[in-house]
């Protein structure tokens, strides 16, 4: 292998020099915080979606039979769905908050104003923090949307407006 400085003139080590390192402020934020900011809300949403659907289907559609009211259990279906939604909401907010504080800690990494940070995307740590904010916001909307459905619809709402001759 030949590197700059070995068989040709130039730098002596195969690293990008510190002046152009893509993440000069990478030591200011733990990598775990960056990943949590990015993944917290999406994971919370995924678990909320799957578990809420599973509980609803299991309690309102057992053995593929549509019920008007959920199967009676020790804990009501509504309480379970609310608990799932609250857990997802809390995790998403925590993810968003982590991403926000990561962004603050790395604000100077981009070397640009906000326009530069968004359009140019410089500063890898800042980029991950900023992405975490955007990702968390979108999934927070999704989590809130699902939570609002739990609150606004009866768990085993029937499609009474559909003719059974047509759809069954």
């Amino acid at each position: 292998m030949s590197l700059n400085g070995s068989t040709n003139p130039g730098a002596s080590a195969p690293t990008v020099d510190s002046g152009t390192h893509p993440a000069p402020l990478r030591h200011r934020v733990p990598i775990r915080a960056l990943w949590f900011g990015l993944l917290g809300a999406p994971v919370a949403w995924s678990l909320q979606l799957i578990s809420a659907y599973a509980f609803t289907a299991h309690n309102c559609f057992p053995r593929l039979t549509s019920l008007a009211a959920p199967v009676q259990n020790r804990v009501s279906l509504f309480a379970i769905l609310v608990a799932i939604s609250l857990a997802a909401l809390a995790t998403s907010i925590l993810g968003l908050r982590t991403a926000l504080s990561s962004r603050r800690a790395t604000a100077r990494e981009t070397g640009h104003d906000t326009h530069g940070a968004l359009d140019v995307g410089e500063g890898r740590t800042h980029f991950m923090a900023l992405s975490g904010i955007m990702v968390s916001l979108v999934f927070l909307v999704a989590v809130v949307a699902q939570a609002s459905l739990v609150l606004s619809l009866e768990p085993c709402t029937q499609m009474t407006y559909i003719s059974s001759e047509v759809y069954h």
Binding site: T7, N8, T15, Y53, A57, L149
Partner: protein, 831 residues
């Protein structure tokens, strides 16, 4: 500063000799050059587009007037099924793979993909799948149950011919091709970027293809599981989708759409990435909101996994359950709108040059908006219930697929054709082609919205005149042929420009990304000097003045000693390791051919042909993986200057490749176990009907398998500390334990009184444990290879990636067994 390449006399000639594919048949069949494979993908996918287009034209002629009997109902069924399968599976995804294969190493500043031979394998299996699908024409049994192939219509009772079998086997073959291709993209992105190309400096097409590849790894196993289950139902009398035996047809819909909706984003996200990268070139400014668009791309892919039920709104599932998925489907509008706003702002704030490529990208934005809006409409449950299975849905999906895939693809051909061939395409012919295609697309697909709302169902071969659908159908047929004319002009332009196009030069569009820094067409080795990247627009840095740092092209890593490229760290792309790349080989072709033969054997019900094919495939794999003496010698050279060679653990591409295998295989088992719980929860009878399984033998077997993880870990640690006798002992014990596990599993099968065709539980039990056993067998074969290599002293403290990888795989197989044991053996005792 002196040019680095000039310091090594004859560098370019040396690299050319090392990397160039030899001419002639031998070179053609054995090449692993990503550029050649990429172009082959493009040409093959375009051939399928032409075939799919001819099928569509025939259907449009049939529907042009009422009570038409040009095609029989059966011919029409076959045509619309094969048209859908061709366009969605054989054109839309492979065409994007073609671009990504060709462009990625050039855009990433590398000399090849991470796994060049897997790249070739992916292409050859794709060809095999296409041949298998279209060989159905020869026996007059093309797939005929629609591109999503719902049972019970596709069950043997109602569709007894080979039609559906062709579909199931060809798609299973295609999933193998797409999976290995996706793993290759993921690892290439993680490990083979030019120094300095941190994740915030990636072109959007790379984000698109990465998201699509991750989606493939997680979603494709659902299709594989569905196809395997249905094939077993049809050929071996299992009951996965048969309610009489405890199965359920809705299971197919769940599995198919768990794959199907992510797949929609697989075939659009890379194309949207093309738009995000091409528009800025012609608008003479960076993409507005790069970070937003990069995030929107990934977010769309993730949300795509949570919307599969919106294809099943009319199946009777409770409204609250449906509403969760409706909500997620509507939320997808947010990242989509981010993209549209960004593209419009880039055009608005830039100084657009109205080239043909630009027009196709602008046309995409218009068509995507229409397709996106109708997507939001169908995400609303009440609306969808009214329009399910009408032409409104056909209109929506064609706006999405033609608008978001075909238009960007053609625009991308105009854009990258000069890079691939060194010649420019004819702009005047191109603009004519665009306008004719754009008008044709809207003429053929927009009236479908109206027909859908008038109640015209999809998939009917004709209609009565009194329905009043005739005039709009005629208009659509006229539009279809206008679109065909536009496409014809495009293909003529490609052929004429290839022969007589004007010389393009290295960067005819004055574009900012790395592929334009090398010659047109690029040399076999892509870059004589590996570039060092300082920004997202390496070729526009002087103009943009975003920072003082500059990317360098003349000075950097040379790597002249063999087929080498640089491996970099995952997030910041710091030089990490020298990767030695494999050369041309016949092994990928041999594996693809034998695997395809094996699948033809399954289709024909020929045990001999299947055995021959799969034995050949196994032999090809062993030949592929078996290291030669030279390679073993090479491993002794552990450092090259400041960098490790090949490396170990996360430095190694093989380690990341194994992670991809484990991810996709985990998904495979997860879908099968999800199917078990779905059927168990919905079964109205006892599940299993013959009582809960016996636990004594399986508990011993579980203990054996778990012990084998400990012995293998012991062996691996011994390799790390150079204690070869202990290492051989540890791996040897693991092999013995693995073989004993398999023997006891067979013993358990022979003791069972039930068979896979007894009920759904038995079908699941034998299939899931069978697949797990197959994985144990593969692990044992890998362990034997490792053991032999240990004896030959192939491994050292620094180089033992194969040992690490097989250990990871073995632990994975153990964890899967715990899940299988808990689900199939323990839960029946809890019911």
């Amino acid at each position: 500063m002196q040019d680095a390449a000039a310091a090594v006399p004859g560098l370019e000639a040396k690299l050319q000799q090392e990397w160039e594919t030899p001419r002639g048949l031998r070179g053609s069949l054995s090449t692993v050059d990503h550029k050649i494979i990429g172009k082959r993908y493009l040409i093959t996918a375009f051939l399928f587009l032409i075939v799919g287009g001819l099928e569509a034209s025939a259907m449009r002629v049939q529907l042009a007037r009422a009570d038409n009997h040009l095609l029989s109902p059966e011919q029409y069924n076959q045509l619309f099924t094969v048209h859908g399968v061709t366009m969605i599976f054989l054109y839309a995804a492979p065409i994007l793979s073609g671009f990504s294969n060709y462009l990625w190493p050039l855009m990433l500043g590398s000399r090849d993909m991470a796994f060049p031979r897997l790249n070739a394998l992916s292409y050859w299996i794709y060809v095999g799948a296409g041949i298998m699908m279209y060989s159905s024409v020869l026996v007059g049994a093309m797939p005929n149950a629609g591109w999503f192939n719902y049972p019970p219509f596709s069950a043997r009772t109602f569709d007894p011919g080979l039609n559906v079998d062709f579909y199931l086997l060809a798609l299973t073959l295609l999933t193998i091709s797409t999976t290995v291709g996706s793993a290759n993209f993921v690892v290439s992105l993680l490990k083979t970027r030019a120094p300095g190309m941190s994740i915030n400096r990636l072109p959007i097409i790379v984000w698109g293809t990465l998201t699509a590849s991750m989606s493939n790894l997680l979603a494709l196993p659902a299709l594989t599981v569905a196809c395997v289950f249905l094939f077993l139902d049809r050929r071996f009398g299992t009951h996965f989708f048969d309610p009489a035996g405890g199965g359920h047809p809705l299971l197919w819909q769940h599995l198919f759409w768990m794959f199907g909706h992510p797949w929609v984003y697989v075939i659009v996200l890379p194309a949207m990435g093309m738009v995000s990268d091409i528009l800025p070139t012609f608008c003479r400014r960076p993409l507005v909101g790069y970070v937003f668009v990069a995030c929107a791309t990934v977010v769309t892919g993730v949300l795509g996994f949570g919307v599969w039920l919106h294809h099943m709104f009319a199946t009777g599932i409770p409204p609250l359950g449906l509403s969760f998925f409706a909500g997620a489907s509507i939320v997808i509008a947010i990242p989509s709108a981010v993209g549209v706003c960004s593209w419009l702002a880039t055009i608005w704030l830039g100084r657009p040059r109205r080239t043909t490529s630009f027009l196709y990208m602008a046309g995409f934005v218009a068509l995507f908006t229409i397709g996106g809006v109708t997507g939001v409409m169908t995400a609303a449950v009440p609306f969808d219930l009214q329009l399910t299975d009408t032409y409104f849905v056909v209109a929506h999906l064609h706006y999405v697929l033609v608008g978001i895939n075909v238009f960007p693809v053609i625009g991308a051909v105009y854009y990258w054709f000069p890079k691939m061939t060194g010649k420019l395409m004819n702009e005047r012919l191109g603009k004519w082609g665009f306008w004719i295609s754009f008008v044709g697309t809207n003429l053929v697909f927009f009236p479908m919205h109206l027909l859908g709302m008038m109640g015209m169902p999809r998939r009917i071969y004709t209609y009565a005149a009194e329905m009043g659908w005739g005039p709009l159908n005629l208009l659509e047929t006229v539009g279809a042929f206008v679109l065909v004319l536009g496409m014809l002009l495009f293909f003529i332009n490609v052929l004429v420009s290839y022969r007589r196009g004007v010389a393009a030069g290295n960067n005819p569009w004055d574009a900012p990304t790395l592929e334009w820094a090398t010659t047109s067409p690029p040399p076999a080795y892509n870059f004589a000097v590996i570039p060092t990247i300082a920004s997202r627009h390496p070729l526009w840095e002087d103009r943009l003045q975003d920072s003082a740092a500059r990317s360098t092209f003349a000075n950097g890593l040379l790597l002249p000693d063999g087929r080498e490229t640089v491996g970099t760290t995952v997030l910041d792309a710091q030089p990490d390791v020298v990767l030695r790349m494999p050369g041309d080989s016949f092994a990928p072709l041999a594996l693809a051919v034998t695997l395809t033969l094996g699948f033809f054997g399954l289709l024909a019900g020929s045990t001999w042909l299947s055995a021959f094919g799969f034995a050949g495939a196994l032999t090809s794999i062993l030949m592929w993986l078996w290291p030669d003496a030279k390679a073993a010698e090479r491993y002794k050279n552990t450092r090259d200057g400041a960098l490790a060679v090949e490396g170990a653990g996360t430095q190694s591409v093989a380690w990341w490749g194994m992670v991809c295998v484990i991810v996709t295989e985990s998904a495979f088992f997860l879908y099968m176990l999800a199917a078990y719980f779905y059927l168990a929860a919905n079964s109205t009878n006892a599940f299993p009907t013959h009582g809960a399984p016996e636990l004594r033998l399986v508990l011993i077997n579980t203990l054996l398998l778990l012990s084998s993880s400990a012995t293998l870990e012991f062996g691996k640690r011994a390799v790390n500390t150079r204690r070869s006798a202990r290492a051989l002992f540890g791996v040897g014990c693991t092999i013995v334990l693995g073989v004993t596990f398999l023997a006891l599993q067979i013993l358990e099968y022979t003791r069972k009184t039930s068979s896979p065709s007894d009920d759904a539980y038995a079908s699941l039990f034998f299939t899931i444990t069978g697949f797990h056993g197959l994985h144990v067998l593969v692990g044992v074969v890998m362990l034997i290879v490792v053991w032999v290599r240990m004896q030959r002293k192939h491994f050292s403290e620094a180089h033992h990636t194969a040992v690490t990888n097989v250990t990871m795989y073995w632990h994975f197989v153990d964890v899967v067994w715990l899940a299988v044991f808990t689900s199939l053996y323990l839960t029946p005792h809890l019911r």
